[in-house]
Amino acid sequence: MTEDKQNETPQNHKHSDSAEPENDGKLPWQERAIPIEQAASDAEQPKPYSTKIHVTEEQKTNTLLLEEIIRSEGVAPRAPRKTRISQISTLRIAIALALIIAMIWMTVFDLPEFTFPAVLPETRYIHQVLQTTPPNAPILLSFDYEPGFAGEMDPGATAILSQLLSSNAYLMFVTTNPIGVAVTERVLSLTSENISFQMGDPTQYVNAGYIPGGPTGLYSLATSIRSTLPQSVNGDPIWQQPALEDVHSISDFYSIIVITDSPDTGRAWIEQVGPQLGHTPLLIVASAKTEPILRPYYEAKPKQVQGLMFGLRGAAATENITGISNHASNYWNSFSLTVIVASVILLVGGLVSAISAASKLDT
């Protein structure tokens, strides 16, 4: 601004100010002008701005992570290295060997002999219902377990089926699992080894087969059984059988028995079918793994499930009170010894793990 004024001075004021007297060689307007030295010293220096980016540690980490993700997108993942048998931990083999030796020991020496388990009230109730079943009473039996659990479920299923066939009840088989159709045939075949009955005899039982839809299918079964199950797996009409003529709803059955390895399936039967049953008892034969989930339905007051039988233990107890010795009785000694061996392995493993953790803490 000062320079502008200096520049315009001679041109703008040359003629107009020429009449005024001179003062120390300075023109009058120069008295009011700021000296150039002072103006230069008063001017502020521009603030220096850094061109560097200030990044926090977290931002740096996130950036690196993003770069890593983007880089990994273009790189083909490395195939997992094939492990050779020699490199595998011997621990797994040792545990398997311990369990197998226990099994072989029991098969060869059959010692020690374990006592059969006590019959629990919920299992005894099933036995009582089956014992008091009149001839030709219609009973609905559902085989809802996977073949993988046949080792645990078959003994219980055969124990129940043996009693039912002995009492001459009329059986109707269903399943909510497509594989259950084959499971039903397998259990019938296993039971025929101990109880004499005619396989495929429509006067003794009918296999109504698969109910699709899971819980929705069960709701349909509970509310309109005749339209849900129009025919048997062989294509024969179901409801013309004399024993089923009076069955118009699910509550017309003498009892409902569900054999399942899944807590969800057991719960679906209780939730969808249970409320429609009235006085018809709902009995469940289930895997040992379902006990913590299904037991509250039995313990509830009023009971939502009237009878329960869990795993090989329940099957062995049932065979013991019925006197029909079958698979559960055969497996009971081997099962008991293997459970003891497995428990010892778990206990030792837990102790070793605790000690090693404590020693790591010390160091």
């Binding site: 645990e152 594989i179 939730e271 793994k289």
Partner: protein, 235 residues
């Protein structure tokens, strides 16, 4: 007679069963070809069997059969044609360009399924279990029981404490403490600790059940293997 005729179906089943069982047990030595072979055979056979069962038990008797024997009734025609159209629309899901036609059907299935499950859970589990928890302290029910009354009261109280403490364990509301980090109230924290104990016991019981189920399957399979070998060597 040929060798094939001499081998009975049962014996063939036993041999196939033995080989497949050993294939699965080979997992003891880690993931290997035999184990994968066994698994793939099981998956393939299961898928094929399910397809056959669904065709014979569902599609044929409940859709195609009634259509082929239609009696001329308009009501029955509507009852049959709606599932048929919905089935065809659902089948379009396998074609990427036409899959959107199947979406409403899928939505209907999911919606109806969810409604059934939720309704069943409320009527079959939620309300009865709440009623059962209340009934634990009903003097009339306690008097009708054959058990000792004081034992019932202790048992009921124990169940009540377990139920409440487990529910409180999942109460995650917290206030910031002096250092600014969230912390539950001391009383809630104490009860939640008791709830954690009951949850741990539940998981322990579930694990024990799974272990027993697995050992049952293990025993049955090894009993089968040993009996086959014993019969082969006539022992």
């Amino acid at each position: 007679m040929s060798l094939v005729n001499n081998i009975s179906t049962d014996l063939l089943g036993v041999i196939v069963g033995l080989i497949l069982t050993l294939c699965i047990f080979s997992y003891i030595f880690g993931d290997n070809v035999l184990f994968r072979l066994g698994i793939n055979i099981f998956i393939g056979v299961t898928a094929g069997y399910i397809a056959v069962v669904i065709w014979h038990s569902v599609i044929l008797p409940q859709l195609i059969g009634p259509i082929s024997t239609w009696d001329g009734s308009i009501t029955n025609f509507v009852k049959l044609i709606i599932p048929l159209i919905l089935s065809i629309l659902l089948l379009l899901k396998i074609f990427p360009r036409l899959s959107s036609f199947g979406s409403p059907v899928m939505a209907f299935i999911v919606g109806a399924g969810a409604a059934t499950i939720v309704g069943g859970a409320v009527v079959g589990t939620f309300l009865p279990q709440i009623t059962a928890s209340i009934n634990l302290f009903d003097p009339q029910i306690q008097n009708s029981s054959s058990e000792l009354i004081w034992l019932l009261i202790i048992e009921s109280s124990f169940i009540l404490i377990a139920t409440l403490s487990t529910l409180i364990y999942f109460h995650f509301s917290a206030r910031p403490n002096s250092r600014g980090s969230p912390k539950r109230a001391a009383l809630i924290e104490t009860i939640a600790g008791i709830g954690r104990f009951f949850i741990a016991v539940t998981f322990g019981a579930l694990f024990a059940g799974v272990l027993l189920a697995s050992i049952s399957a293990f025993v049955e399979r090894w009993d089968f293997i040993i009996s086959v070998f014993l019969s082969i060597f006539h022992l």
